[in-house]
């Protein structure tokens, strides 16, 4: 019994660490920009996907700290005001985790929830950024970045499904204990 518990703990921590690593990859991708003429495109909301796709096998306590850590890392490397992403990710994880746990269904139902999540993130980021920077955000950049990440959702959905199937696991497996 104890051995099984230890296995679960190790497995859960391993899942959290893997998710953290994916979070770091997404943060690096969010730093990339593409210049098309005078238009500069980047996907600053991309790491939000990690909150949405957080594995159900991971335990809650390390997971919420990991969400905060991913936010802090994005704060550090993005060059923006410090603490905004950390607060946004922590708050979102606390608020959405129970909902996301219940999410079933296909691409479109998950896409709509993801779009709502990105919209909430943009609003929260805009409000907190306004407090921190003392100036209104560039709404056009905010909306454009958000829209771009929402449009990328099917790609991320397919990639996740592929990874789960390749590893022989079920993406809708029940979440483990705390």
């Amino acid at each position: 019994m104890m051995d099984r518990g230890a296995d679960n703990t190790l497995q859960s921590l391993s899942v959290v660490l893997q998710t953290l690593a994916f979070g770091c990859v997404l943060i690096c991708l969010s730093l990339l920009h593409v210049s098309v003429g005078s238009l500069n495109v980047s996907m600053m909301f991309l790491p939000v996907a990690i909150l949405f796709f957080w594995p159900r096998q991971s335990r809650y306590s390390p997971a919420v700290w990991s969400a905060a850590a991913i936010g802090l890392l994005q704060d550090l490397v993005s060059g923006g005001p410090l603490g905004i992403w950390m607060l946004v990710y922590t708050l979102l994880f606390i608020l959405i985790d129970p909902t996301v746990r219940r999410v079933r269904g296909g691409l479109f139902s998950q896409w709509s929830i993801f779009a709502f999540l990105i919209f909430s993130t943009a609003v929260l980021y805009g409000l907190l950024g306004r407090v921190s920077a003392g100036a209104p955000p560039d709404y056009r950049a905010l909306a454009f970045n958000a829209l771009l990440v929402v449009l990328c959702f099917p790609l991320m959905f397919a990639l996740r499904l592929f990874l789960y199937r390749a590893s022989g696991r079920d993406p809708y497996m029940k979440r483990g204990r705390l």
């Binding site: 943060i27 690096c28 991708l29 730093l31 990339l32 920009h33 593409v34 210049s35 098309v36 003429g37 005078s38 500069n40 980047s42 600053m44 809650y60 306590s61 919420v64 700290w65 969400a67 905060a68 936010g71 802090l72 890392l73 704060d75 550090l76 490397v77 993005s78 060059g79 923006g80 005001p81 410090l82 603490g83 905004i84 950390m86 607060l87 990710y89 922590t90 708050l91 606390i94 980021y125 805009g126 907190l128 950024g129 407090v131 921190s132 920077a133 003392g134 100036a135 955000p137 560039d138 709404y139 950049a141 905010l142 970045n145 204990r177 705390l178």
Partner: protein, 303 residues
């Protein structure tokens, strides 16, 4: 019954742990947020290494993206080759005259410098540090870029960052292998500028739009189409770096940046040593002459 009681206890314990973890993480995030208000840098020592690490990874990951950008730009240029060639020929003819005038003026300036014993502050072009803009953030609150050159290559805070077209920004944070550049368009960017035509002064103030505004012009002579260059009055950037052209937007004058029209890939950092203030560079008291014409040792000299 016993099992039910046990699972209820487990459930309660689980809820308590969830609540505690959530509240603690939220409080920590809130503390970091409040510490970072008004541009403070509570984790300033961590930020440099973090940006250096991210800069290395992103410079590697962005290679295909930069390649695609360059390819697309070269294809675009290829279609307009004939008309561009005609334009370049006429431009070359004009520039030959300009070059002749420039050489004549250079001689005059050199002569005046010698006669007046004047030290005209110009950009020191001896040292240029080439780097690549690996990540350009044009977000809702911050417009900055990460470049893959840091203190190890001689970059330091405040250095001017140029592209082939003009001034791009200035270094605000330096790591070992990467630096953060504040773009001219950023909300926090303020640069002392002047009109190349009239020498009228102003402050170029970023507002997160593509074209920064010209503020504090007072009654300076500014006209639409004037070339905006750095004035060097702020003591942080050298004088004469090209920035853009003036245009009117409503009741404001804005500068259309020279770096705006092309994708930014290669840049160079120009280290600059500003003129030191008298307080920072005081005069060391000369040794007092003693009777008999012998100089006193330095430690015995009176101030």
């Amino acid at each position: 019954m016993a099992r039910g009681h046990y699972s209820r206890r487990q459930e309660k314990r689980r809820s308590a742990i969830v609540r505690r973890a959530s509240v603690m993480a939220f409080l920590l995030a809130l503390i970091v947020f409040f510490l970072g208000l008004n541009g403070r840098e509570p984790l300033g020592t961590v930020r440099g290494p973090a940006e250096s690490g991210a800069g290395r990874i992103v410079s590697f990951v962005s290679m295909p993206v930069r390649g695609a950008e360059n390819l697309s730009a070269s294809i675009g240029r290829h279609f307009g080759t004939v008309s561009e060639n005609e334009m370049l020929k006429s431009e070359l003819t004009r520039l030959k005259q300009v070059e002749a005038e420039m050489l004549s003026l250079r001689e005059q300036v050199s002569y005046l410098e010698t006669v007046l014993n004047a030290d005209i502050e110009t950009l020191n072009t001896d040292k240029r540090i080439a780097a690549r803009a690996v990540s350009e953030t044009k977000g809702p609150f911050v417009q900055s870029a990460l470049i893959n050159a840091g203190a190890a290559k001689g970059v330091s805070d405040g250095d001017a960052v140029m592209t082939v077209n003009g001034l791009y920004g200035r270094v605000v944070r330096t790591g070992q292998t990467a630096s953060r550049v504040l773009l001219l368009t950023d909300l926090n960017s303020r640069v002392a500028v002047m009109s190349q035509r009239s020498r009228g002064r102003a402050i170029l103030s970023g507002d997160n739009t593509d074209a920064p505004t010209l503020e504090f012009r007072r009654d300076g002579d500014w006209q639409i189409g004037d070339r905006v260059v750095t004035s060097g009055d702020d003591g942080t950037l050298p004088r004469g770096l090209p920035i853009g052209d003036v245009y009117a937007a409503g009741d404001k004058l804005r500068a259309r940046l020279l770096t705006q029209n092309a994708p930014v890939d290669w840049i160079w950092v120009s280290p600059f040593t500003p003129i030191a203030t008298p307080e920072a560079d005081p005069v060391i008291p000369q040794t007092a002459a003693v009777e008999g014409g012998e100089a006193a040792p330095a430690d015995e000299a009176q101030p």
